[in-house]
Amino acid sequence: MPSIEMPSKSVDEQVAPTKPRAKMQLAKLGGEQELSAFFKARNCTMPHVGLLQPADPILNAAGEDIRRRIFMTADQGGTSFCLRPEFTIPVALGHIEKGKAKGRYGYAGTVFRLRDEEPQEFVQVGIEDIGAKNRIAADTRSLADCVETLRMLGAKRLSISTGDQAIFEAVLQSLGLPQAWQERLGRVFGDTKRLKSDLDKLSGKKGDELASLDPKLREVLEAGDEEAVKKIIAKQMKASGLSPKTGRTPDEITARLMQKAELAAVNLSADKRHALESFLSLDLAMDKANVKLWALARKYDISLGDALEDFHKRLTAIEKLQLENVSIKYRAGFGRSLDYYTGFVFEVRKSGKPDSKPLAGGGRYDHLLNVLGSKQDIPAIGFSVWVDRLSRTADAAKKLQQMQIQNRSAK
């Protein structure tokens, strides 16, 4: 188990915020009353999330790379903290600590990120919906709440991109790709450049990947003698003073080596690559995506099974919302590269500004609670609005930002 320090008292059960700091934040958001009523109407409690957060859970969940984008500090004992870089992880930790089956959490407050062209201190508003069993309903509700939040902050015409990692994974599985490749491609999903480079590697001619192996090891490996491979590796580990208790074990290394040897001879066929690329290039209005996905599945003789059925149900539910002044697209290659995102994702932009930074982003993160230490699988989805980006489009939010600056300089 990673050492995860649970922040004490992270979830406040009151519907209305009682902490003075939260009250101040809300006052800045064009009225505590309005926001509090907004969350209450959506069955959200407002947990208290401290400005100073233990850094370990965040680094464990998001990886070392996020260290470059957050403000870190340490106490005298060397324990690392960071200025709250977002709400999702602290809210999820609070949920685990409470041990409740499900909960919906609303938040609004300042977050801190190292950013090049944008302010490093800005306000985020969002809702995390944790533990809801009906994923389709929760996905739909999250998207609807996100649009409503943007409306409350004065946004007008919106354009939404959606994606779904489950569909991509179904395509990989249905194409019969080896498990190791499925996992590798699943990890780079959402990163077009890296995905292409991985596909090139899988379909191109490979050099002898086992060339640098010790000849004796290679011999038993190619003979498929797993026990002999394991023995050689265990011996080498012992000779090097590596304890199998502190890191990778001979079993792990052997399993991956055998898999590597097996895959060394296999190439991604041109047909399968073509199928994958046709799928990934889909970028169209969401209400047309269903038919198109179905046609593609027929053409390449792949079965998308439950993933497509869920996609269809979600699409129908979203259509029923009849969101006004909103256009929704489906982009097959759209996903988030953090490994705890698992399914439906979305990003909202101002209409007609496809290259601008998103005003809001959301997505399903069914693996996050496990990563944070939950023994049970807990499904979850959430969204967050970047209020500072809205301020350039909406007067209300602009006023808000000004109030904040005045507040700060008045102190």
Binding site: R184, Q236, L257
Partner: protein
């Protein structure tokens, strides 16, 4: 105006730097008395170059002062310069490789990891590691900046850095880390510790460089002097 040229204040790095300037036709005049850290530079005509002042500092101080723009030129290791700040090229330009102080910053794993040869393998292993061990893969290094950039370039985020301020090569056997990022010149320390460098795991081939600050202030004359010095040093190894 004068420009400040910083030279490592002690050891082999200092000697080799003075030699390099000599080869290029200059003479570094050491401080008049032992307490002083200021010297001067004679040109090929054996006369002092009036607008150059020589300062003696530690190699890491030179990197920081170049970034801050408090000195104009300095000799230090490329590894140190790039480790001191992200996007180092925004703050300084690397004008001349001086042919000494060679050290490669590398990614190394235990020999027993027979399945890991490349950074792509590392990516697979890092992802698998978290699932199996319920913690992130740990990398021991003192090169935070270089490690984070290199791993990000390879799309690897799922790892943790364990700061190591000495004997990094011993970390895997000690059980404090799984992988290391360290400098090596001959590779003998790595071999002695049963570690292997990944085939695409060379982060930086570093050596001593003459570096010019982009943040320091220059008059037109300063700029011309700096340019001439850089050019002369760049030519010695050609």
């Amino acid at each position: 105006m004068t420009i400040t040229l910083a030279i490592p204040s002690k050891g082999r790095l200092k000697e080799k730097t003075v030699d390099a300037f000599t080869k290029a036709g200059f003479e570094v005049k050491l401080p008049q008395n032992a307490r002083s850290y200021r010297g001067s530079l004679n040109g090929p005509n054996n006369k002092p170059i009036e607008n150059v002042e020589v300062a003696f500092m530690s190699a890491s101080e030179i990197a920081r002062e170049l970034i801050a723009g408090k000195i104009h030129l300095g000799v230090t290791g490329e590894d140190l310069a790039r480790e001191t700040i992200a996007q180092a090229d925004k703050y300084m330009s690397f004008k001349a490789k001086l042919g000494f102080g060679h050290a490669d910053v590398i990614v190394a794993v235990p020999d027993a990891w027979a399945d890991v040869e490349t950074m792509a393998d590392m990516d697979d292993v890092a992802a698998e590691f978290r699932k199996i061990h319920n913690r992130q893969l740990r990398i021991a290094t003192k090169y935070w900046q270089l490690t984070q950039n290199f791993f990000a370039d390879h799309g690897i985020a799922m790892y943790r850095i364990v700061e190591s301020l000495g004997a990094t090569e011993g970390a895997p056997a000690a059980g404090t880390a799984d992988v290391i990022v360290d400098i090596t010149s001959t590779g003998s320390t790595l071999r002695a510790n049963d570690l292997k460098i990944l085939s695409d795991g060379i982060i930086l081939k570093s050596e001593a460089n003459l570096i010019q600050s982009k943040t320091a202030k220059y008059t037109r004359e300063d700029r011309a002097t700096a340019k001439a010095l850089c050019l002369a040093l760049a030519n010695i190894n050609k």
